[in-house]
Symmetry: C2
Subunit: 220 residues, 2 copies
DNA sequence: GCATCCATGTAACCAGTTACATGATTTG
DNA sequence: CAAATCATGTAACTGGTTACATGGATGC
């Protein structure tokens, strides 16, 4: 999972570990950050696998320092450059290799299976623009199926909760509401997707997505 | 974390591992279940620590089989009873000991610190009825502080997201909305709490909770 | 020249997972 | 009696964490 995230970020621009960590928490949804203790080993693994490699700090294809607001950082890079690219223990700026691109595609494809995990799904969605439309739709459909199941569970939990326990009750109700919203969100994404590229049997006007979330089946 | 959950469930009634696993996913929020590979070792650890012990399958203080709807299970217990309580490798019904009760209290108290993790917080909230009112309020306040921070991050992410990436944009907006709702939910719980037991300086009529979630600070 | 932030890395640990092995009980 | 389900347990692995060690660069 970390590997996928790293490759995805390096696809956009070359970065060194420290900066990578920032982006991981800031722009991807990695709640409050991956630790260096996992990031650096991951980078090392990817480098060993030939998926990324440390590039010279100057003369890269993409502009390596695109106005992030961290003036200090940019200045440091500038100095590093004119000093002649880091010595024994300076910054290591990584770039993605063709093998890395291939690995990225593969991870993005295979990890779709295990997107019952919310974090994995979120990560994949953040990179969904790299997927072909039908794979994207498939991913969303699988997610939807999972959320339908989850919503059923949540509704069962609401019914099963102890009488007289305000906290548990509030919790399960909140969870159910969240599940409902997650589902309607995904259904909206699916609808957008179909509208943008009605690839298959789907005719234009009729019943785009059979929404489950509005469905108030009262099986008590 | 698992230990806390187990003890909390055993406080309510005696259970064997298999059934415990079901409750863990069904009634607590353990999304799609803990595996046996972690549950049984956890039970073994707790037993070794004297926090739980395997009880005779008959004649316990609390009614061990209170109408869960799983007829098969109840029948099985009944048969096990009249057969004279399991032999070498039957069901092992666990009950909580006084030491277990103490451990539960301790875990519930100490684990409040690490409730930056949503799962931990949810678990603690499910057992919040066992906390003294001020500890409960403290837990909610800490959670609120965490969510305020989180919401700030989410809003920053929305601003930072790549132009032209529909999926990332939709994701961060959804996450922000979820964070907003989480926060208002917690604030509601806090308000309820204060209304129920206005323990401290708080006067009755004035400004119960200074809601952050409605606050639309426009620092662009 | 000292504190602080940037930056990389290692080692020990931890809480869970999957896969495997075993066996009792129920039901058709 | 075979298949399904209930039930317990172990071993290897995974994907991270915290704590620690190191050192360059910057700012005051």
């Amino acid at each position: 999972m970390l590997e996928l995230a790293i490759l995805g970020l390096l696809k956009e621009q070359e970065l060194h570990g420290y900066e990578l960590k920032k982006r991981l928490s800031e722009t991807l949804g990695f709640a409050s950050g991956v630790s260096f203790g996992s990031l650096y080993p991951a980078l090392a693994r990817l480098e060993a696998a030939g998926a990324v490699k440390a590039v010279e700090a100057f003369a890269s294809t993409a502009p390596p320092v695109p106005l992030t607001g961290s003036l200090g950082g940019e200045l440091a890079v500038f100095r590093a450059r004119k000093a002649g690219a880091r010595g024994s223990r300076g910054k290591k700026v990584y770039g993605i290799t063709p093998r890395g691109e291939a690995l990225f595609e593969e991870l993005l494809a295979t990890e779709s299976q295990s997107s019952d995990d919310e974090r994995v799904f979120n990560l994949r969605l953040a990179f969904a623009r790299y997927l072909p439309p039908d794979a994207r739709l498939g991913m969303l459909e699988r997610r939807r199926a999972h959320l339908v199941e989850r919503l059923v569970q949540m509704r069962a939990r609401v019914k099963a909760v102890r009488e007289g326990d305000r906290y548990s009750r509030s919790l399960v109700e909140h969870d159910r509401d969240a599940a409902e919203r997650d589902l309607t969100w995904i259904e909206q994404l699916i609808a957008n997707e179909r509208a943008a590229a009605p690839s298959r049997d789907e005719a234009v006007g009729a019943a785009p997505v059979p929404s489950f979330s509005k469905n108030q089946e009262d099986n008590h």
